[in-house]
Every structure is written in C-alpha cells, then in structure tokens.
C-alpha cells in the first residue's frame, strides 16, 4: 500500500464524520432546524395578510414570495453555520487537521443544506397549497428550490466564513450574500412564474444546475481561504 492509498480514505472519512456529527447535532437540537422553517412559513403567511386574499393575485405572486421567504430563511440559518464550531474550538481543529480544508468546508455546506435547505423544499408543497398553486407548478417550484438551496448553502458558507468572528455579523452577512444570491433568486422565481404562465422550464433549470456546479467548484475553496483568514 502506498501512502496515497492511505490518504484516500482520510479524504472521505473526515468530511463524512463532519456531516454525521452536524446531522446528529441538528437532531438533538430540533429548534435549529425548525426555527427557519417557522420563519419561512411565517413570512409566507404575511403576504396574504398584507396584500389581501385575492386568489389570482396570490397565484401570481406565490412563486416569488416563496422564493424570497426561502432565501431569507436560508440566510437566517447561515448565521450559525460556523458559530458553534468557532466558539467551542472545533473550527481550529478543522484548520489544523490533515484533511484538506476545502473538503471540510464542502462537508459543512452539505450538512447545512441537509438541515435547512432540504426541509425547506419538503414543506414547500404545504405552503404552495395555501397559495392555490397548482400541483404541476408546485413540482417545478420544489425542483428550483432544491437546486437553488444547494447553491445558497455553498455561496452562504463563504459569507458565513468571512463573518464568523465578527460581533455585528447578522446584518453584514445579509449585505454580503444577498447581492450575490440575486441570480439564483431571479432564475428560480422567474422559472416558476414562466411555467405557471405556460412557458418552458428547461432554460431556467439548466441555469440553476450550472450555477450549482459553479458554486461546487468555487465556494469550498473560497470558504476554506476565508476560514483561515478569520481564524488567526
């Protein structure tokens, strides 16, 4: 066995352990997972109360509202992405571990998506139903949210890593991430609106998929660099 063969399982087992640990932590503290979901449902409930319960209007604004609410809910949960690790020192262990830091950063993003992005996608049909969005459109909405939240988890991890040690992180994180998240929002929400109006779906989905791959190849490295800078 060469040394490379020995290094290979490390590369996979480290991130795997991290994902399992974060998933366990999320299970033990269900509030961390549920609070953003409640926030999501609450924001979505604010709009019918504010603009009136007209069915056509709700159908029209539904996809956009759900997308904005999902984006904000993701931001809310991103704040604490590295916070607990930073406070109890496990972040420093990640920095000095032999496993490449980008792989660990990717694992953190994956864990974050599993505990906040995926649940958002899963509760979407319930909220979409209250907006009278048809079943086929709801399917597209879930698909765009599925791809979009992966991108947001990856993109957001860069922002979370940059602001991890800062006291005024919350508003700052939104200011950093929201402009960068604009393409995801535009393509996600617009694709659903177009489908609801009877248009094709492929273009928007292709874009969202391509953006996921762009983020997969850029974000872990940027996050790793940012973590090193924030932790000296």
């Amino acid at each position: 066995m060469t040394s490379q063969d020995q290094a290979l399982p490390d590369l996979l087992s480290g991130p795997k352990a991290l994902i399992v640990r974060d998933a366990l932590l999320a299970l033990k503290r269900p509030g961390d997972v549920l609070n953003p979901l409640f926030f999501f449902a609450m924001v979505a409930a604010l709009f019918p109360l504010a603009v009136g319960p007209s069915e056509e209007q709700l159908q029209l604004i539904g996809p956009g509202v759900l997308w904005v609410a999902a984006l904000l809910a993701m931001l809310l949960s991103l704040n604490s992405l590295f916070l607990a690790d930073y406070e109890d020192g496990s972040l420093e262990q990640m920095l000095v571990s032999p496993v490449p830091l980008p792989a660990l950063a990717l694992a953190k993003s994956a864990a974050h998506w599993l505990s906040s992005g995926l649940p958002l996608v899963l509760v979407t049909p319930v909220i979409a139903m209250t907006y009278q969005i048809s079943l086929s459109v709801t399917g597209i909405l879930m698909l765009t949210l599925l791809l979009g939240t992966i991108s947001l988890s990856l993109l957001g991890s860069v922002g979370a890593a940059l602001t991890v040690g800062l006291h005024r992180g919350t508003a700052l994180l939104s200011l950093l991430i929201l402009p960068l998240a604009m393409p995801v929002l535009i393509f996600g929400a617009r694709t659903v609106s177009l489908v609801a109006a009877g248009d094709g779906v492929a273009g928007g989905l292709y874009f969202l998929g391509a953006y996921v791959f762009l983020m997969l190849s850029v974000a872990p490295f940027a996050t790793a660099t940012a973590l090193r800078i924030s932790n000296e």
Binding site: L155, V158, L162, T163, L166, R168, L172, L175, L176, L178, P179, L180, M182, P183, I186, F187, R190, F207, Y211, L214, V218, A219, A222, T225, A226, I229, S230, E232
Partner: protein
C-alpha cells in the same frame, strides 16, 4: 523591469512617484472633459428621437463604464494582494471601492434622470442594466461594510479580497441573469459589429468624455491610494521623516 515593479510596490517610492503622476492624469482628464462638455452640449446635434435629452449620455456612459472598470480593478488588485501578499495592492483595492461606488451611484442617478422623460418613470425595474448597476452598488456596499467590520487592517484586506474575487466571478452572471428580463434599455450603440451607430459629431465628444473620465478616475485613485498608504504606514519611519522635513505638504 521586475526591479522597477518591486520598487513601485514599496510604499515610500509609490508615494513619491504617484505625486508626480497625479498631474499627468488630471491635466489631460480636465482638458478632455472640458472639450467633451462643450462639444456635447453645444456642437453635437440633438437626437432625432430623444431631442436634447440624449445629452446626458455624456455623463451616464462614462460613469457606467467606470463603475464596472472600478470593480474589475478592485478584484484584480485584491487578488494580487491576496496571492503575492503585496501591501500596496490591498491599499489600491481599499481606495478604489468608494470611488467605484460613487461612479455607480452617478450612473444610477443619471440613468434615472434620463428615464424620466424617456420612459416616463424615475425607476424601471424592467430595465436590466439599471437593475444590475443597483446590484453592483450593493456589492460595493457589502465590500466596504466587511472592510469596516474587521478591526485588523491586514485581516480586513484579505477577507475583503476573498469577497471581491467571489463577487468578480458573480458579476457577469448577475448581469446575464438580470438581462433575462424583458429589456427596455437601448441596445448597444458604441461597441457593436460594423462600428458605432452614431454621428461623429455626437460620437467624438462621448469618446472624449469616456477618456477624460478615465484619466480623472486615475488621478482620484492615485490621490486616494497616496492617502491610504500614508495612513497605513503612519507608524513607519519614512512617514515621520516626511512630516518632520516639511515636504509632506505637497
């Protein structure tokens, strides 16, 4: 060549070289803007559709172009600073951000003023370029906010450099995604196949303004970088010597 670059990258040398360079940028800039303003307002004929309202392009186009150039310059110098650890490059990135934000604001303000008689509204969400300029303004704000939030200068330099680079990857995508909306904006007249679609009497003042704005931008940038360098090196000996010798007034 490399020796010259290394010398330039050292703050004291840059500080002195930049002092001489500023006037070389400012003079042509002012001359070109002077010519462009006169020719744009009095020589160029009114547009057959837009009348005299089109004349705002003599400010709007250079500002919009510089707002994007400034972001490129910021990202490139931040990248150089991050990779080769050149302090001066970080100083340039720090100095260029507020300038870029101002030019973005100018482009937005003039675009909005132009939109009032042309589209009938001050603001039009359907126009992709106006919207992507707005996003660009937010990107500048985010960059500056991150810089302000971090106390240590060297940490702020590198953290904001990461942000600028991630932003630079995203800027074309933002532009493209906003363009996906139905467009109200004029098609490109200047950079397109078959040469500019514009009368020369209108075109030359515009080119002069673009060049003049760029020169003024360079002069302002050099001035800001000088101030930034002086502030960052305030505890160094050469700055103290400079102040005590009385030459610092220049």
């Amino acid at each position: 060549m490399w020796k010259f670059v290394h010398k330039l990258a050292s703050p004291p040398h840059f500080y002195h070289i930049a002092a001489n360079l500023i006037s070389w940028f400012a003079m042509p800039g002012l001359l070109l803007i002077g010519y462009g303003t006169y020719a744009g307002l009095f020589v160029a004929p009114p547009d057959y559709q837009q009348g005299d309202a089109f004349r705002i392009i003599y400010v709007h186009v250079p500002a919009a172009y510089l707002s994007m150039m400034a972001y490129m310059a910021m990202a490139i110098s931040a990248g150089i600073g991050l990779i080769w650890r050149i302090k001066l490059a970080h100083a340039v990135a720090a100095a260029v951000a507020p300038l870029g934000a101002w030019f973005t604001f100018l482009a937005l303000a003039t675009g909005s003023i132009w939109g009032r008689p042309m589209w009938g509204t001050w603001w039009e969400w359907g126009d992709p370029r106006l919207t992507s300029e707005l996003v660009l303004l937010f990107l500048y704000f985010g960059y500056m906010a991150l810089r302000n939030a971090i106390d240590s200068t060297s940490k702020a330099d590198r953290a904001s450099a990461v942000l600028a680079l991630v932003g630079a990857v995203n800027v074309p995508i933002i532009h493209f995604s906003v363009e996906w909306w139905s467009s109200l904006h004029q098609g490109p007249t200047l950079v397109r196949q078959g040469g500019p679609a514009m009368d020369t009497a209108m075109l030359y003042p515009l080119l002069a303004m673009i060049l003049g704005f760029t020169f003024i931008f360079g002069a302002l940038l050099l001035r800001r970088v000088r101030a930034e360098v002086l502030y960052r090196e305030r505890r160094k000996r050469w700055v103290r010597d400079l102040i005590l010798s009385g030459k610092g007034k220049r």
